[in-house]
């Protein structure tokens, strides 16, 4: 009897988990389905779910109209660039805060987080002026720096949390064996924190890929990433939902695939602890 209850419960949990999963995924699925419809079918009411004339016309039109490859490569460069640059700064910062905390470490951490509390538009004009005067407007360098800066607090916080899970004794042992600071960080701390660093890396690539305020406001033609590509298909006067869906599908596909393949790593990173 007891076994039966567990089995039923397991089944119920599985059904519930799938239901929630499908609910969350549904908007994306709907976008993908709409991208294969004609514009007339895209707005039809009641909407057709699977039985419509599947067409690739929207993708053809999007290909003809925009330079997808340029937007895509811009997205890759700025999301990878900003994440790697961010990690290079955040690993030493998080190390010092986790292992040699001072009196003000907590305040510094809170202060860093507080920079995320201001709405970005509040600093748009000053940053725009700085970028104009330094020639960084519409450049990949400029965008990489801005995205690195806005994600840095999150990277440091995540790494700080992971590093704190690693017992200081392991590092002490390394020091007693004669490891210097550099060797301690590179050969002892980093390998132990790899899952944590990997999930931070992945999460930041996703955040940078999806960032749609600075990438739209600081670019024009040359450095515009995929967010600008999507924005170019949205229209308040005219029904272009199928084309917009095709553009959106093309923009989210790479990050969706990356997320799919690295889900194990992401989950492992998020539940990581040094002491099992």
């Amino acid at each position: 009897m007891a076994r039966n209850v567990t089995k039923n419960r397991k089944l119920a949990m599985t059904v519930l988990a799938w239901a929630i999963g499908i609910l969350i995924f549904f908007p994306i699925l709907w976008t993908i389905l709409t991208s294969f419809k004609t514009e007339a079918e895209a707005i039809a009411s009641p909407p057709s779910f699977l039985f419509f004339d599947w067409t690739l016309d929207n993708y053809r039109e999007v290909q003809e109209r925009s330079n997808y490859f340029r937007h895509f490569s811009n997205s890759v460069i700025i999301s990878l660039g900003s994440t790697i640059l961010g990690l290079a700064i955040a690993i030493p910062a998080a190390w010092s805060m986790a292992f040699v905390p001072g009196r003000r470490t907590k305040d510094v951490l809170m202060w860093m987080l507080s920079t995320k509390m201001l709405p970005p538009v509040g600093v748009l004009i000053p940053i725009y002026l700085i970028f104009r005067d330094t020639g960084l407007l519409d450049t990949l360098t400029g965008l990489t720096i801005v995205l690195m800066l806005i994600n840095l607090p999150i990277i440091i916080w995540m790494l700080f949390t992971y590093f704190r899970e690693i017992p200081g004794e392991i590092l002490e042992a390394a020091r007693m064996d004669g490891a210097g600071l550099k060797a301690e960080i590179i050969h002892v701390l980093t390998p132990m924190a790899v899952p944590g660093i990997a999930s931070t890396l992945l999460l930041n690539i996703i955040l940078a890929w999806n960032e749609a305020f600075w990438t739209l406001n600081l670019t024009a033609a040359k450095a515009a990433p995929l967010t600008a590509f999507i924005a170019s298909y949205s229209s308040p006067e005219g029904l272009f939902y199928a084309k917009l869906s095709a553009a959106s599908t093309m923009a989210i596909a790479p990050i969706l695939i990356l997320g799919w393949f690295s889900q194990k790593q992401l989950v492992r990173g998020l539940t990581f602890g040094a002491v099992k």
Partner: protein, 437 residues
């Protein structure tokens, strides 16, 4: 993962270097059918001007507005040609942000531009932007449903005619709603319609001392009639309907009438997308009996050159091409007369081929000619503009008031309360901005 990224960086640098020999102009534009068509047809321009390369930045209207406003206000110089509305042109020209376009090449024929549009783009006698396409507002209605309901809609209807027709055409059990109007909040959404409707009731936003007028009997009448029509004869959930939502409803045959931008006419009569393409009739924007005002809705998308550009000559050359009579002929030749950008040139409406291809041509022209944005209301007012007030503060105030009116439509507050809130907000903002001393 690192190597492909490097490769990509190297290829894009090479591609940029290869393009560097020609002068590149960057054009910021909106995503609508006519602009996209222009993007496709630019070979005609680049063939004649091999030393000019064109870069396009296409954005959604609100994103574009935010983007180009930031750029022009800080003199960022990111764009050489900007697509802006007739709301921005006079405000920006007065700030010296735009270059005058009074030296257009011979044969451009600026006198051919529709008078209402031309006057909206002229400041101190100088043209500051060239119109690419223009629109007014009119009534689009289903001729078959009107016949079935036994009503006729005159070419110049009054609001009483509209109200009666809406009542007669409504069949809620058959999912047919007599009238579809904008309800989604925003200065360019519900407030564009409601401002025009209020104008046609004899109301105005401000009196000549910039005092808000939402407590006037005219506003009260207009707003109450709007709510009655929408609640009794409108589709459900109309407080979130904008242009696109109504277009979709109309194309699927769910609206008896739709009063909106004239540009919609080409969509609803397009047999590829619209299920009611062959039974659409047109009438002028209604007015209240005895009020000589048909709303004064006038909008145009225009190409302008910011003073911060590095390539003013190339930019002007492009604008002269894109807004010329020759461009209209090019569109007609490639895609038929029906696709010609509407609402900018008198000569287009005199063209018999266009009249034949576009059944909505005559009413569009009538509506545009009837608009007098330099005199928006029958009352004496200190501002210009038709479905908007041409002051920089209007975007903020209009959207705030739009939210209050949308809330009334959704049933969250009553009409009097919404008008009172609008009066308070507008008075407060206008005092803060220094209009009311």
């Amino acid at each position: 993962m690192k190597y492909p990224a490097l490769l990509v960086a190297a290829t894009s640098t090479l591609a940029l270097a290869a393009a560097a020999h020609a002068e590149t102009i960057t054009i910021a534009t909106v995503n609508n059918g006519d602009m996209i068509r222009m993007q496709k047809l630019t070979d005609g321009f680049t063939k004649d001007n091999p030393d000019i390369d064109l870069e396009w930045v296409t954005l959604e209207e609100n994103v574009l507005r935010q983007r180009v406003t930031t750029d022009i206000a800080t003199k960022g110089g990111q764009y050489d040609v900007m697509t802006i509305g007739n709301y921005e042109v006079p405000i920006w020209a007065k700030q010296d942000w735009l270059m005058p376009l009074d030296d257009m090449p011979e044969g451009y024929d600026a006198d051919d531009i529709l008078p209402a549009i031309r006057s909206a783009l002229t400041v101190d006698g100088k043209l500051y932007a060239a119109p690419f396409y223009g629109e007014s507002a009119m009534v689009m209605y289903r001729t078959d449903l009107a016949e079935k309901a036994g009503v006729t809609i005159p070419a110049q209807p009054t609001w009483t005619d509209i109200m009666n027709a809406a009542k007669a055409m409504t069949d809620k059990s058959g999912e047919i709603y007599g009238i579809c109007l904008r309800g989604k909040p925003g200065w360019g959404e519900n407030m564009a319609f409601l401002t025009a409707m209020a104008n046609s009731y004899g109301a105005s936003w401000f009196d000549k001392d910039w005092k808000a007028q939402f407590d006037s009997p005219e506003w009260k009448a207009a707003f109450n009639d709007y709510l009655t029509m929408m609640n009794e004869y409108g589709p459900p959930g109309s407080s979130s309907n904008g242009f696109n939502e109504n277009l979709s409803l109309f194309q699927q045959g769910k609206c008896g009438m739709w009063i909106d931008a004239t540009v919609a006419a080409s969509f609803v009569t397009d047999p590829d997308d619209s299920t009611v393409a062959d039974s659409v009739g047109f009438a002028q924007f209604p007015n209240k009996e005895g009020v000589d005002n048909h709303g004064n809705w006038l909008w145009s998308w225009n190409l302008a050159v910011p003073t911060s550009t590095d390539s003013p000559e190339a930019a002007k050359k492009f604008i002269a091409w894109a807004t010329s009579k020759g461009y209209t002929e090019l569109v007609a030749e490639k895609e038929g007369w029906r696709a010609a950008p509407p609402g900018t040139r008198t000569s287009l409406y005199e063209n018999p081929e266009y009249q034949k291809a576009a059944p909505f041509a005559e009413m569009t022209l009538n509506s545009m000619n009837a608009a007098t944005p330099d005199k928006p209301s029958v009352k004496d007012v200190p501002y210009t503009g038709g479905q908007f007030v041409a002051i920089p503060e209007f975007q903020g105030i209009g959207t705030g008031v739009g939210q209050m009116f949308s809330a009334a439509l959704a049933g969250q507050v009553n009409a009097d309360q919404a008008l009172q809130n609008a009066q308070q907000l507008t008075t407060r903002e206008m005092t803060k901005a220094g209009y009311i001393k």
